[in-house]
């Protein structure tokens, strides 16, 4: 009879999984466990804390309280599906899946369920083409912007001439890591540098071969597309072979505090591209301290506040809330729905004044989303790590990337997807 009881319990539990309708439901597909937990925790904390701040300080958005339901994915696509299906019924407004794999399989699902999805600096790059990917947004910058931003930074520091230079790309051997290759190959043709590809298999605990190769070939610059343990090991190995850290540039997912801290002072000078501000030198952090941390409502232990990935989570939440505000203004009612939010996201305009008004002056690039362009303007800056002070600082402001190369690639990739799936252009 044990089985019967178990079955009854199972049915009861699964039935109650359907969430109750809330005011403004923002699901957070986070991962606080598994191989990428170190990166998932601060992001989820930042996302949650900003929403808590909205509720505590402003009484919600436009008078409607925000309800955030967190669902643990463990960076696993199957759990991601379960989380999506479990949360979408209750009127979820926007998804931020924080995983390239989950993004790819949610693209058709969100499109058919008419719920927008925002992938902040990850996911499918060609989703920038809003004509094809009607419900996916990847503003303010995507991977190809990141790759181009790195090369632009190198051009800038080399008097616009990197002809004949050698550049190595150390990348996570997965969909995520392979993203920049095509862009970098195009840029290599354009600027005449030589590109070496060095894949690292998941999880990336062992990278001796790759770094011995770098030591042998002495590339002028090393770019990195890493995530998880791969970052810490790569920074450590680079330090071990005494590769000049200032010539080592990571993507924004390889530029968090915990990526460089284990290597200690040897990591000094390491750089990473970014599309948002670093540190906690923004007025909003006083409010977070006052309303969220001091009142014991912080999602984490409070020690991640102001770290790079915390800021990114906060940025994601901020962009979601701003889009909700726009939707409320456009529709005239506070309790917006997912399709209304999608329309607002498509017209989102983030200006310097707007960010300053939120207590985040200069936190990210100003950008404007349109129906054709779901990716913003792709402005990318560079941050550098100071191991003595244990802080990141922006050394190159948000600057435009090579839209000529990127737009052509976006067009090619998105049109291939449209052809495979018979998608009509949605913009007039």
């Amino acid at each position: 009879m044990k089985f019967t009881k178990l079955a009854v319990a199972a049915v009861a539990a699964v039935m109650t999984a359907a969430p109750v309708a809330a005011d403004l439901l923002l699901p957070s597909l986070s991962y606080r466990t598994g191989p990428y937990a170190a990166g998932g925790i601060p992001f989820a904390d930042g996302y949650a804390d900003y929403l808590t701040l909205m509720n505590e300080r402003d009484g919600g958005v436009g008078g409607e309280m925000i309800k955030m339901t967190e669902c643990e994915t463990g960076y696993n696509t199957e759990k991601g599906v379960e989380c999506y299906e479990a949360t979408k019924g209750g009127g979820a407004l926007v998804y931020e899946p924080l995983s390239t794999g989950i993004t790819y399989q949610l693209i058709p699902k969100v499109t058919s369920d008419d719920i927008p999805m925002h992938t902040l600096g990850y996911g499918r790059t060609s989703a920038k083409n809003g004509n094809v990917f009607s419900h996916v947004f990847n503003y303010p910058a995507n991977y190809w912007d990141g790759a181009s931003g790195m090369i632009n930074y190198l051009l800038e520091t080399n008097n616009d001439d990197i002809n004949g230079k050698t550049i190595a790309l150390v990348y996570h051997n997965s969909a995520f890591g392979k993203e920049p290759i095509r862009t970098l190959e195009e840029l290599a043709k354009k600027h005449g540098f030589k590109l070496t590809l060095l894949p690292v298999d998941h999880p990336g605990q062992e990278q001796k071969s790759q770094w011995l190769q770098i030591r042998r070939e002495k590339p002028d610059y090393v770019l990195m597309w890493g995530w998880g343990v791969m970052n810490q090991v790569a920074v450590q190995e680079a330090a071990n072979i005494r590769y000049p850290m200032e010539n080592f540039i990571g993507i924004w997912w390889s530029g968090a505090d915990h990526d460089v801290l284990p290597a200690g002072e040897a990591a000094n000078g390491y750089k990473a591209v970014t599309f948002h501000g670093v540190g906690k030198d923004f007025p909003i952090y006083d409010d977070i301290q006052k309303y969220v941390v001091d009142t014991g409502k912080a999602a984490g232990t409070g020690d991640t506040v102001g770290s790079v990935l915390y800021n990114r989570g906060l940025y994601a939440a901020m962009l979601a809330v701003e889009a909700i505000k726009d939707a409320q203004a456009a529709t005239g009612h506070a309790n917006v729905t997912a399709p209304e939010l999608r329309d607002a996201m498509e017209n989102l305009n983030i200006t310097e004044e707007r960010m300053a008004g939120l207590g985040l002056p200069g936190f990210g690039p100003a950008f404007q989303v349109t129906c054709e362009n779901h990716g913003g303007d792709g402005l990318v800056g560079v941050a550098q790590w100071d191991a003595m002070a244990k802080t990141w600082s922006i050394i190159s402001d948000f600057k435009p990337t090579d839209s000529e190369v990127i737009d052509a690639l976006v067009k090619e990739d998105s049109e291939a997807y449209a052809a495979e799936n018979n998608i009509e252009p949605q913009c007039k």
């Binding site: 191989p35 894949p199 605990q205 072979i241 040897a266």
Partner: protein
């Protein structure tokens, strides 16, 4: 000699160094397999658990802080002490012994005489359990592990070998951490050999490995031997956890190093200590050299993972019991 030759030599030596670490993990497997016929899937998670415990003790973390805080609404995180590395290591070794006793008491004792695959499955259950338990106890964020092992390229070797290969070559690169790891692994193996040859417990251990029933009949306590073996395996896991954790910080991925030991086991044989050592070296050198000579230039790199298994597979086709494994005698 050309620089190319010396580069090859450099890769070879680094392969050896990596191989020593693989051997170390493989040793943990072999010990348990030999004495109890269990293929211990949890070995990797044990390394993670040991490293987590070590860092936690060293930094004075409050165990189960998150759980306590969320139940009682408190805000406790740290005791505020900072233990010296050696003391923390000793305490962690103690924890691993306790773990061994618990494993014997609550799992092994109930599964005597079950088929291999059931015992294997039990260790998988254990791996799940410890993974969740370790995270619950110490939190799943990344932690910095520093027990004072030097890191980085060894300059002395680099400078004194730079003259060998001409202009393009600037000395052999060897990671100090790898050298320390190799020395420790060597000492560990040596002491294990001495232990099993010259102490009473060690002899009992070998007797159990040879024949359970015969050992029982001369009055050796199987349970005690199991506790000893699992403690040693726990200690090996601790050493492996320290070596890998120093490089990457302590985090979940540490538990995946067990996968690196499997081809070593295939190659060396599940029951042979020298096999684990030689197998580790062959796999370490083999995968690095293949990546250097063929993988990176012709196949686009990242070949190490599968090559290790392919190499072991090739060996097995010719010697199905592994390099040093017991000869398989089959009777109907």
């Amino acid at each position: 000699m050309s620089a190319g030759f010396y580069f090859g030599a450099e890769v070879f030596i680094n392969g050896l160094m990596t191989g020593v670490l693989y051997s170390l993990v493989a040793l943990g497997f072999v010990l348990i397999f030999k004495s109890s016929g269990i293929f211990n899937y949890a070995q990797g998670v044990m390394a993670l658990f040991a490293a987590l415990t070590l860092v936690g003790l060293q930094d004075g973390q409050v165990p189960f802080a998150h759980l306590i805080n969320s139940i009682f609404g408190t805000q406790v995180h740290h005791f505020g002490w900072h233990l010296p590395a050696l003391l923390a290591i000793l305490l962690t070794a103690g924890v691993m012994v306790v773990l061994a006793i618990l494993v014997e008491r609550y799992i092994l004792r109930h599964l005597v005489n079950q088929p291999d695959i059931i015992l294997f499955m039990a260790t998988i259950g254990m791996a799940y359990f410890m993974e969740g338990f370790g995270d619950l106890m110490w939190g799943s964020e990344i932690k910095k592990l520093d027990v004072g092992i030097p890191q980085g390229g060894n300059f002395w070797i680099e400078e004194n070998t730079a003259f060998l290969g001409g202009e393009d070559f600037y000395g052999f690169y060897l990671d100090s951490l790898d050298i320390v790891a190799a020395v420790f692994a060597g000492l560990l193996v040596l002491s294990l050999v001495l232990f099993s040859q010259y102490t009473k417990t060690g002899r009992a251990l070998r007797a159990v490995a040879d024949d359970h029933q015969a050992a029982l009949s001369v009055g050796i306590s199987l349970r005690f031997i199991w506790v000893v073996v699992w403690s040693i395996a726990g200690f090996i896991a601790l050493v492996a956890g320290i070596m890998w954790g120093s490089k990457s910080g302590v985090q979940f991925s540490l538990s995946l190093i067990a996968l690196k030991a499997l081809p070593v086991l295939m190659l060396g044989g599940f029951t042979s200590i020298p096999g684990a050592i030689v197998g580790g070296l062959i796999i370490g050198v083999g995968e690095k050299m293949f990546e250097f000579l063929i993988g990176a230039p012709f196949l686009g790199g990242a070949t190490e993972n599968w090559f290790a298994y392919m190499l072991a597979l090739l060996f097995l086709v010719f010697r199905p019991q592994g390099l040093f494994g017991d000869k398989i005698i089959e009777r109907v």
